[in-house]
Symmetry: C2
Subunit: 350 residues, 2 copies
DNA sequence: TGTTAGCACTCACAAGGGTTGAGTGCTAAC
DNA sequence: GTTAGCACTCAACCCTTGTGAGTGCTAACA
């Protein structure tokens, strides 16, 4: 069975209508609302064909049709048109990014918040990571008699703290010397060459074996950093606004998934890898059971220097895919240009 | 009208039953279940009196009675008995605290998580603050050509990062010197005496006027720190498990309140002040509209050195107050003893 | 061969009516 | 002060019925 132009139009009508209203659409409605030049009976025949192809389904015998996951898939792949953003929205996004570019955690939070407000869906943003994350600077700072904090600044300008507990904390001068030596050693040797670094440190600070060892381990694990991906969510309660989740059980499923770090990580942490396209997962295509009534639209953003993070939008399968994709594209483009400007400044300055 | 012993018992029966079942309780049920030695008719008369006093209400004519906010208040103030915790629960709480005491953010997160699991309510934990927060150590760490991060370690062992943007970032040695000088200046002068510190810094580092000024401002605002109270929530989706919130609209209200930082801050941020008692706010007693179907139980915890934070439990007014209060008491006591042990070690060590 | 009008059929949903049962308030008697 | 008895109320449930949106099928038409 082939899909002629009219059938495409009917499918599109069903999908766009259903996205707006969440109500099944019948043949008569389409005949009246969309000027296809044929009667409802003809549309009925076409709809029957579309159903046979698995693109639309009937919730029950005497109801209209709603799109199936496969229907949405076809729509998203072949028919969807990207939407032009209004100048206000474009400016808003640009401002959010530019104003917070200096502090990555605020940037993530504010971007998530803005996007949640614009889409009415739920937003998840993960921190940028690089597959070969480089350390820019490390520094030990004393906390008390048995702990210091290792401050690690990465190439992508993220600042992280890791508390290190040791039996004996040396004085401030020694801490500074160790920090300096560690910075130098990291520059001289690659981080892969852990032994060389450890050897140098041990030779220079034989008294502080415990601290230097733990310090180096902390840095290494910060680089691997698979243990602790930061992410932010916003608009979680938007879920409850959709009629498809007015069943508390379904909503609870989704909330559970959003509270489970592991689930979100598998969905959104690309481990520094990236993909230039906006990626869409529809309903049952999703491997996570709790989210099989949802669609997820994800875009990977570049945060300079090979470091990438993701922005994900979670909503009902009846999602406004066009708008969502446009918004995500706008965000990653803005991020890109703001970052490029920044690094240009850096190069000029240094 | 006075409340004789039997009426107290009837009220207690209604409250404890309603906490368990969320169903209105009738006179016959009480007569059968609780051995009061009188008939249901007598209980009916007493219930009528209790209703007149505003302690219980009838959802509709032919239903049993449920407690009113005033009823819960009387129960909580006069009748409630604190519950003994099982050894397993006590140990669990103790372990959570002891294992995470070194890293305050983990501690807050893990405590919230454990309490959410134990109570099935929603937990909010705010970071400890001190009305006269002392700075233990500050350190500047370079990020790039136009920004450095000020790492601030406070007396309560919290580590915070603040990004400072400056037109010109001096070299690492100068950054270290500035950091050292700032540490010394803070120790010498009190932080109140901002002018003296600024003067010293300017004199010693005339080239880095912008940086030292912003650095000092950052430290001051970190001390004031009213701008950005950290808090953690856990068990937010537990809300949906309660029949009183199966109405999506009500649940949404609560979620909105929990996503609004400002609301949580006014509820839980005591601004470093504290109160030794566990504090209970029941239903309509709450000033926050969105939470008037909820009760909030809050305990302030001491984190050493005059710094205090809060742990709050949010649940339906039909909350198990006894258990909740016991759990909160256990947590703040555990925190107290673990902290005291730590500072003992500190004094021995240094 | 594609399109259409007509018609019988299906089925969720809403409205109406009857029944049930838990619970009450009142009264008169103990 | 307590109790038994009784009339009354009302949510909840079930059953029935009607309605309307929507379908599939068929026969006729271009």
């Amino acid at each position: 069975m082939d899909l002629n132009d009219r059938k495409f139009k009917i499918l599109e009508a069903i999908i766009t209508d259903y996205i707006k209203t969440a109500e099944p659409i019948g043949s008569r409605t389409i005949a009246k609302k969309y000027d296809l030049g044929v009667s409802s009976a003809t549309i009925r025949n076409d709809m029957s064909d579309l159903e046979e192809l698995g693109l639309i389904v009937q919730p029950h015998t005497s109801a209209g049709r709603i799109p199936s996951d496969r229907g949405y898939r076809l729509y998203v792949d072949k028919m969807m048109q990207s939407q032009e953003l209004s100048p206000e929205v474009s400016e808003l996004l640009h401002n959010v990014i530019e104003n917070n570019i200096g502090q990555i955690d605020y940037l993530m939070q504010q971007t998530a918040k803005a996007l949640a407000a614009l889409t009415n869906y739920t937003i998840v943003v993960t921190e940028p990571k690089s597959p070969k994350l480089n350390i820019k600077h490390v520094q030990l700072v004393p906390i008390d008699d048995s702990s210091v904090v290792a401050v690690i600044v990465t190439e992508n300008k993220a600042v992280k703290n890791y508390v290190i507990r040791v039996t004996d904390v040396p004085g401030l001068e020694t801490l500074n010397s160790i920090s300096n030596a560690m910075n130098a050693a990291i520059k001289r040797y690659s981080l892969q060459d852990m032994e060389s670094i450890a050897a140098v440190m041990l030779q220079t600070f034989p008294e502080s074996r415990e601290l230097t060892t733990k310090f180096l381990k902390t840095i290494i694990s910060a680089v691997r950093q698979n243990d602790n991906v930061q992410y932010y969510t916003s608009g979680v309660n938007n879920i409850l606004g959709f009629p498809e989740f007015s069943d508390v059980g379904k909503a609870q499923n989704i909330f559970r998934a959003l509270e489970e770090k592991d689930i979100l990580i598998t969905l959104f942490d690309r481990n520094g890898e990236h993909n230039n396209d906006v990626h869409i997962v529809i309903g049952g295509e999703n491997n996570t059971k709790e989210l099989q009534d949802c669609s997820i639209v994800r875009a990977d953003y570049n945060f300079g220097n090979d470091s990438y993070g993701s922005i994900g939008v979670i909503g009902p399968t009846r999602m406004n895919y066009g708008q969502t994709v446009s918004l995500l594209n706008a965000i990653i483009k803005n991020l890109d240009s703001v970052i490029k400007n920044l690094s240009k400044d850096d190069n000029n300055g240094g």
